[in-house]
Symmetry: C2
Subunit: 722 residues, 2 copies
Amino acid sequence: MHNIFNYLNLVWFPRIFIFFAFLISFTFRTENLTAQHYALSSPDKNLNSEIKITPDGSITYSLTFKDRKVLNPGSLGLNLKNQPDFSNGFLAVSEEKSSQNNSWEPVWGEESTIINHYNQLELSLSHAQTDRVIHLQFRLFDDGLAFRYHFPRQSNLSYFTIADELTTFNLMENHTAFWIPGDYDTNEYPYFTTKLSEIDATRAQHFSEIGVKNIVGENVVQTPLTMIGGDKDLFISIHEAALKGYPAMYADVDRSTFSVKAELAHDKNGNKAYLQTPFTTPWRVILVTEQPEDLLASRTILNLNEPSKIEDTDWIKPQKYVGIWWEMHAAGKSWNYADVSNIKLDQVDWDTLKPNGRHGATTKRAKTYIDFAADHGFESVLIEGWNVGWEDWYGNGKEEVFDFVTPYPDFDVKKVTAYAKKKGVKVMMHHETSGSVTNFERRMDEAYDFMDNYGYESVKTGYVGGIIPRSEYHDSQWMVDHFIRVAEKTAERNILLNSHESTRPTGLHRTWPNWLASESARGNEFNAWSSGNPPEHETILPFTRILGGPMDYTPGIFQIKLDYYNSESPWQVKTTLAKQLALYVTIYSPLQMAADLPENYERFPDAFQFIKDVPVDWSDSRYLDAFPGDYIAIARKDKHSDNWFIGAITDEKARNFDLNLDFLEKNSTYTAIIYGDSEDAHWKENPMSYEIKELQEITSQSNLQLNLKPGGGAAVMLKKVK
Amino acid sequence: MHNIFNYLNLVWFPRIFIFFAFLISFTFRTENLTAQHYALSSPDKNLNSEIKITPDGSITYSLTFKDRKVLNPGSLGLNLKNQPDFSNGFLAVSEEKSSQNNSWEPVWGEESTIINHYNQLELSLSHAQTDRVIHLQFRLFDDGLAFRYHFPRQSNLSYFTIADELTTFNLMENHTAFWIPGDYDTNEYPYFTTKLSEIDATRAQHFSEIGVKNIVGENVVQTPLTMIGGDKDLFISIHEAALKGYPAMYADVDRSTFSVKAELAHDKNGNKAYLQTPFTTPWRVILVTEQPEDLLASRTILNLNEPSKIEDTDWIKPQKYVGIWWEMHAAGKSWNYADVSNIKLDQVDWDTLKPNGRHGATTKRAKTYIDFAADHGFESVLIEGWNVGWEDWYGNGKEEVFDFVTPYPDFDVKKVTAYAKKKGVKVMMHHETSGSVTNFERRMDEAYDFMDNYGYESVKTGYVGGIIPRSEYHDSQWMVDHFIRVAEKTAERNILLNSHESTRPTGLHRTWPNWLASESARGNEFNAWSSGNPPEHETILPFTRILGGPMDYTPGIFQIKLDYYNSESPWQVKTTLAKQLALYVTIYSPLQMAADLPENYERFPDAFQFIKDVPVDWSDSRYLDAFPGDYIAIARKDKHSDNWFIGAITDEKARNFDLNLDFLEKNSTYTAIIYGDSEDAHWKENPMSYEIKELQEITSQSNLQLNLKPGGGAAVMLKKVK
């Protein structure tokens, strides 16, 4: 124990301060009998925001788009735990306006240059009652408003706990919303499409295939919360950017007034954020566009994130990978080596334990994948279930669940990595934590040393299960910090990161571009063992979850129906085969898996050619035609060639596209290779029926007809001929 | 997300099992209409225990000592969370008796050989309703009963959570008890001495000098709970041994029936222990002696712990140390470098921050201590406050509070450790965590690497503050495991450990003998800045806290009154100077600090000679005369010479000892150097008045008169002459 009295002395100074501050406040308050008004416009003047400090010192903001109100005045502020009310009593003591119009080059992305153009207003607000100061920073882009709170270093405020964030988005009408439940632990739900008034998150309670669910409340939903307003001519999405040192935000929807309040994830003590000044909250973002395609083209969330903290980024390589993975989900293979339900890592003689005969990650199988990757130009092979601990890894709240360095006896890590090296292929490490993060953090350095030793250059992390520390949820502040810690640690060691079951992204991959992708949504694997993802699913993801950052969706399943492996399986992927190909273009990620088994690709080498050809890094992207929940058609230009690629997908409805190709280089000629649904294709009835056509002499004057069948899609390679 | 259905399949097997088990249970239950009885005696037959399975399958045990009842039948068992009742329905299906009578040699201790002599009964109990099995293991030593629960590996029980431990100690009378509050976070209270009926833990609420208090309940107290019964001829102590993988136990006292129930620390989710079979609980221990001295001589708690897990123990060196420490507590020096209340480790330019001029851990001051240690034969120098972070380390719930590797600008770690090396002295590392254990665990390896680099061979850890993970308390299962993790990690790296603010000991130093000492009680420093430790304090500690293991009490304060440093200080150490010397013998620890400033020792070189001479490792110990709360006189023989040492202390009353020295070697002669209170000495009025006498020709036939003044003591060196 140490002498705490030295420290208690310090407590008296602030009290004297407060007393004087209170005297001063009289003067201030007298001046503030009328409201203070501030206005901000977007560079194109279409978006306008008014910020007001009311006579009682509350802060509100509103938003209009052209002549339409988007947000009625909504409150701003934060309340601190065990501290005087912080929702009013503010006076703006200074105002600073500035603008930015520049561009930057992402390490990887949907285009090679991103324009960052906004007008900014920064208000410094003094809170007389407590003699404290906060700053409010507003940025108006042409496609959205963003604001955040900043607590500067100050003598009256060092450490504090957030009790509640008061931020409110007062929507004007009963928009149609694409929502999943706000859940402290998962984002792995299919989307509901309802009016705001009809939101009921408890409808998602029955998705028993999701391991750990903690639905926040009936009317609390996840962000990005994307909505359609007006006469389908207003597209709004509420999200956040640069989530660091703070919990994830949910949208608490008042179903009668359409007022949406920021609801923060808390820890199990009920606290939302433990903060120290200086601190800046994540950005609160409201994207607003007239065209749905412009929502997909928005880079506002990326622009709000800090530039790369990694100086030398040459080692960061967007890539495609295959892996021992789908066969566990779909084809009866197992992650675990033995069928026992109770193991202790250091007490099992793995060499004598009876193998179950279904173990996926064997040396032999790994070599098959490595050969396949080498033959077809995939950079990496993911191998899941390689390390001991899978026998009782899930649902036991077990802390010492994996050690991340001990392979099963039938997986010879030396042989496998040497073989991969010989073949010019990298093995992707898998660090499933089972949610036991204290265990992972203790072993992380050793785990990365192991990767160094064996030449692993990328890692897929997993967090399936309730979180240990037992005070935490997947979305609470401590876990948000953990995920960033992993991004930083892996960056330091030149490791590429692919995080699953992490907090949904908020553009942090700009800052840590080694963080190639996250799952953090309902991925393709749900199709292997549950009601799965309805045909509309992939038309919603880019308008919601993927607005925050790339998703490791793991497309490319060719063997659509899973009774192929097990005649009793009722499951299937709810797309056509051609749509699986189109997803490589419509779902942007610098990391794309070809998720099916090598044997299945070998059955369909012509279709597989598209997966081999499609790039994962782009110099340009054009959002040709899209509507959330219905269809998406995107064209992207390869960053390393003159070829363009198009992906078009539809929901359960057949749909024809007549695409204008005016984005192609003038005076150039292209050959189009079209991987499309056959005439008789149908996601349910006949999903694997595809046809490949080649069209010559395509130019920027050409139009491209794509006929998509129910649940179908088309993938197109536009190969520049001259 | 992974396929959890594979795992769900497993769930059905147990259900079927349970159904059959239920059928079988009918048979069992029919057989068990009468109670089952088992008896166990201590080797000397004085202690007898009866274990009974009642007709309804509850388990009870009782204890008698000679012809006296010590414990009425008390219940045994554990209830599991969300599982069928586990408090009855048991049937003993097998019984196994065994005995041990052997001895072992501790790496260090109060004697060189420890006898381990007990009779054991092991019952295997079947629980028909759930088809589960537990084992109960009882051991009767001549000075106490111990029992524990064992959950074997079994198909019906792999993972479970303890909701409640039912163990009850049904005491027979309203004993006088020495107690401190059961507290989830601290043991740093002075002792209360009351009848069991008068226990009221809330009386301790006012000790505001204790940073983080979480008192369990009015009638819940800490163990070891030591009591005096009968006509002061029965001494009982309830404690536990080998606390691993389980939370600390408190004593929940029924103040009218004197029934004491085991109350386990829980985490902030209300769960007590997350367990996996096979699992064995800590031992529940009831020490029973007729003589108070025999309680001090008991090695039952050590015998119940596992032998050393460290094979080569040559590097483990009991030792005395000095350090930059008391001057922060008593003499106006500070741990922190600057007087600011808000720092972020990576955002401060320490070289330009204004130093407060009071910083203790400077290069210069470190050299003074190193010189002093070298001159006077101390093995190590502790230096606290050497590393950045102390400015706002306490009470802020700050996670990234220290990095354990960055010295302050005025502490040149290279110079200091090089200087120490030259002088043949070791520097003791200090790892204060501020309770932020997630931060510490993340940085632990780096911290130990740092120690390796600079030649540190021992570490003092500290856990002042609320625990992070925020689900935990100092005494909850996760923290118990953490403290052991640190013992293991330091053992692996040949580092000696001295843990402060850790769970109170339960004999684990037998298993990890590098864990030299813990604080885990109210140490000497409380005298520097609070109502402190009353004169009786050190006469109680060996009968309570220290029964579990050595304490780093930090005795040896010569400058008793602290107005010496600051004329306004009301504080003082509540002993005479001579008593401070006696503590080196009465408070056993293989690690003893000479806690005062070198300058103070230089003022009293004659008295200081005792601290230089007294060993910290013993071949034999004799508990000559002792009564908890009143006095203690102990003689110990140096492990490395033929010299004996005696320490005698008293509470606030003057007391004369007439000690029989028959433990001395026959036919040998000794010179006694007696460091005692002067005639006018008094802990309050005249504490620094001591006298040193030398007596020649002392033999085993001699008696030694020691006159102790109020709050006084005497320290004796018996130097063998021939």
